[in-house]
Amino acid sequence: MKDPDLKALAGLCAKCGTCRTVCTLYPERKAEIAVARGKIALIEAATGGEDQDAEAVQEALTDCLLCGRCERACPNQVLVEEIVMKGRADLAEEVGIPAWKRVLFGKVMTSPAATGIARKAAAAGQRVLPGKIPTASGLHYRFPDGLGGAGRTVPKLPAKGFLESLGKGEAAAGEVMLFVGCVFDHVFPEVGRAAYETVKASGKSVAVFRDAACCGLPAMVSGDRRSAASSAVANVRRLREADPGAIVFPCGSCLLMFRRNVFSLIPKGAPGYDDAIFVADRAVDYASFLLSSRVLDRIPDPPPGEKVGEIGYHDPCHLSGTLGKGPEAREVLSRTVGPAFAEMAGADLCCGYGGTFNVRDYPTSSRIGESKVTVAARAGTKVISTACSGCVLQMRDMAARTDPALRVVHIAQLVHQAMFRNDGNPGIR
């Protein structure tokens, strides 16, 4: 390993073992190699010249959800996520990254046009999947056994993405920029739409960011720093050119990218750093924006006594944990659905998605996720709301597998539902 930062960052680990208490993966693996302390030991050994099998180390570093719970619990504030991501990047240079990821991150996700084409191709491919599961959150298809990720269900992909559904000159410029992200554009365009309509209700002019499709996080966590950096640099430049007063993120992971991770890719002094600062200063989560813009004041009071305690909130690891935005989402929910919102059992447990982790080890990812939604459903939650694209994807799959009546939504959908009557006309006060 060559990154000089890695040795210094890893050297702060006291090997105390606190990370074992919070690691999402540890209960599954029951082995030191799963937790931060073990991974850091591997990196220390590698930077110290121990002759390890690079692929085995890469495998160990990849076996992590990057939920960040260890980092937040660490008494020494060791930057575990940064260490793991840098370690992955270092090893990616040594042993390369899998070809499918290279094409996905380097070619598809950096290009909005290619992402759209990929969705259409996937949507067409879905029609051959035999198992259809109608769930409370929409139709899912089940992968047949024998295909990768047996038992996995995937949401029915829409024919049209959210960005495509916008009129030609619509939302081209405005004081507020909405960064929808790939998933809420291509997979769940209804979330992109709900976020757009409700942000628009602030009375401010709203632009939708459409020049780039991906925030770059998937590439970054896979060690493909080049693709990630190229996404990041282009994104911050274009965002700055648009000169918005605020940039609203319905997805917590995209927000993390622009609030924190971008500075690992574009450090102080690097070209684009000023743009990154400009963006970070204006990047805000969806819930905080609603609270600051008084959109919620315009929602009619929820009917009293209806569905008391049935709606819960799932804390996305980065949004609630790293960025500390859990209270804001809860306030939005309380003011949107009233007593229907209640604290959900196991709200802050990781959903087990972990982006590419879900692809490489679906059985583990789904065990963690099933346990997550089951704990909530058993305690009486009927609707799980959240504010991160990965969490929505994962928990919808888990609900389809365990309890199709359990609905999984983005908080914007609940706000939208409360704000607009069924006939599509605003019920705004």
Binding site: A14, G17, T18, K30, A31, E32, I33, L42, P75, N76
Partner: protein, 463 residues
């Protein structure tokens, strides 16, 4: 290790035997941050597998090093002579909790806090609370006889071990002790195993005494100008016939270290802090807290903060619990000692340590269980300056000599491991060492279990 031994282990453990360099690295360290590579790691799931592993070890003569969470501070779980690390982390069931006879039966890999929480759900109390309780295991706690904050009132791990099941170094399966309130049949083999640092047997099941859970607790944080003021307060509280459930001291450097994770506003002139806790009924805890607060104020406390709700108490405790790992800010290498002196000599020991720090030109940070006279003396060095390292080692030797001279002990709760092996004889004398070696011979004649620990070993030198 010879291939035959590995292949026999493979037959026994299947994919729960790991020999990859990566897994071996992950089991090469503990919280001392020293590293020794094992040849293999095994994850047994029951006592029979532990027994079979030990039988194989005797047949093929490889070392077996038991390991719980690897959070020890004396090197107890370090495979200093290679061999097999036997991790107990997958033997982690609470077998039963008897709410009539007040005991729990647990496997060694149960995390201490898990047991405490399960007991609490039933209104019961498992008192041992080492700072590592959130991750350290009951098996590791037993092997090292872990203490903790509440030892001043409730004692240490050994006071809660009623009986054990263990596999000896020979591979024989031994049951010791009782599941009753008392028992004096024969030698106390239970106590023999507690604190034996994995050198005599591997605990596969423990019967642990539980108490009724106290109804209430009040935590107080008192800030003092000097360590002497704080030490005097400790003795004043004892003299007032109050036994707090914790009396923790932190010197100014230790307080500064945790500021990053546990912000506490400090009045000017703060040089020392005491964290005290009293427990009992709602009334008695409040009454005792008043008296403790009074003792603090009459001994020069600059400020006393108090919390009786869980959240507020946690905040105050965070300050204390975060110290050990955060010390790394002061130096890459920490020589971590846990001496105990008679409580009345605390102030003298602090004076000695501050003088020593000046004389040896090394930074010394002190905190610990003042109510027990147990001070965690941490000498912080860079590890890259040979002269500084030599001075630090001289300082350690002086601390130990002074401790024994004051009628204390060189380790209250961390154990001897490899870090204190050179000083064993200084405290227990030549006959003490000889008798211990005879006992070792009796439990583990082939020297299979955790070789290189407790007794001085050329292969595992200090540092």
């Amino acid at each position: 290790m010879n291939p035959e031994a590995l292949s026999a282990l493979r037959d026994l453990f299947g994919d729960r035997l790991r020999t990859s360099l990566e897994t071996r690295i992950c089991y090469s360290f503990d919280a001392t941050r020293k590293t020794f590579l094992p040849d293999a790691v095994v994850y047994p799931v029951n006592a029979e597998e532990v027994r079979q592993a030990l039988l194989l070890a005797n047949l093929h003569r490889f070392p077996v090093v038991p390991r719980g969470a690897g959070s020890g501070l004396s090197g107890g779980s370090l495979p200093v002579r290679g061999g097999v690390v036997l991790s107990t982390e997958r033997m982690d069931r609470i077998v039963s909790i008897d709410t009539e006879n007040l005991y729990a039966i647990v496997e060694p890999g149960v995390v201490t806090e898990t047991l405490k929480l399960e007991a609490k759900k039933r209104g019961l109390f498992y008192p041992p609370d080492p700072a590592s309780l959130k991750f350290s295991t009951v098996g590791g706690n037993i092997a090292e006889c872990a203490g903790g904050m509440s030892a001043v009132k409730y004692g240490v791990t050994r006071d809660y071990v009623l009986g054990l099941e263990a596999v000896l170094g020979t591979g024989e399966f031994l049951r010791t002790g009782v599941a009753t309130a008392k028992g004096v049949v024969g030698y106390d083999l239970t106590r023999m195993l507690v604190g034996s640092e994995g050198t005599l047997g591997i605990v596969t099941r423990a019967t642990l005494r539980l108490l009724p859970h106290p109804e209430a607790a009040v935590t107080l944080l008192a800030l003092f100008p000097t360590n002497r003021d704080a030490s005097d307060t400790v003795n004043a509280v004892a003299a007032a016939r109050i036994t707090p459930s914790a009396m923790e001291i932190m010197d100014r450097t230790a307080i500064d270290c945790v500021q990053a994770v546990a912000q506490v506003p400090l009045p000017g002139g703060t040089g020392s802090a005491l964290l005290l806790e009293v427990d009992g009924t709602n009334d008695s805890a409040a009454r005792e807290a008043d008296r403790v607060e009074e003792a603090c104020r009459s001994h020069g406390a600059l400020e006393v903060r108090r919390a009786s709700d869980a959240g507020g108490r946690d905040e105050l405790w965070k300050l204390r619990r975060s110290i050990s790992p955060t010390l790394l800010q002061l130096g890459a290498v920490k020589l971590n000692e846990d001496i105990v002196v008679p409580r009345s000599r605390l102030a003298d020991m602090f004076a000695f340590l501050s003088d020593l720090s000046v004389r040896k030109k090394v930074r010394i940070v002190n905190f610990g269980h003042a109510g027990d006279g147990n001070i965690h003396v941490n000498i912080m060095i860079s590890g890259t300056d040979p002269d500084e390292t030599r001075r630090a080692e001289e300082a350690v030797a002086e601390v130990f000599r002074k401790t024994v001279e004051m009628g204390g002990t060189i380790s209250g709760e961390h154990g001897v491991g490899i870090s204190k092996a050179p000083f064993l004889e200084m405290e227990v004398g030549p006959l003490g060492v000889a008798v211990m070696k005879r006992l070792k011979e009796c439990f583990d004649p082939n020297g299979i279990l955790n070789p290189g620990k407790i007794f001085l070993d050329e292969d595992a030198v200090r540092g």
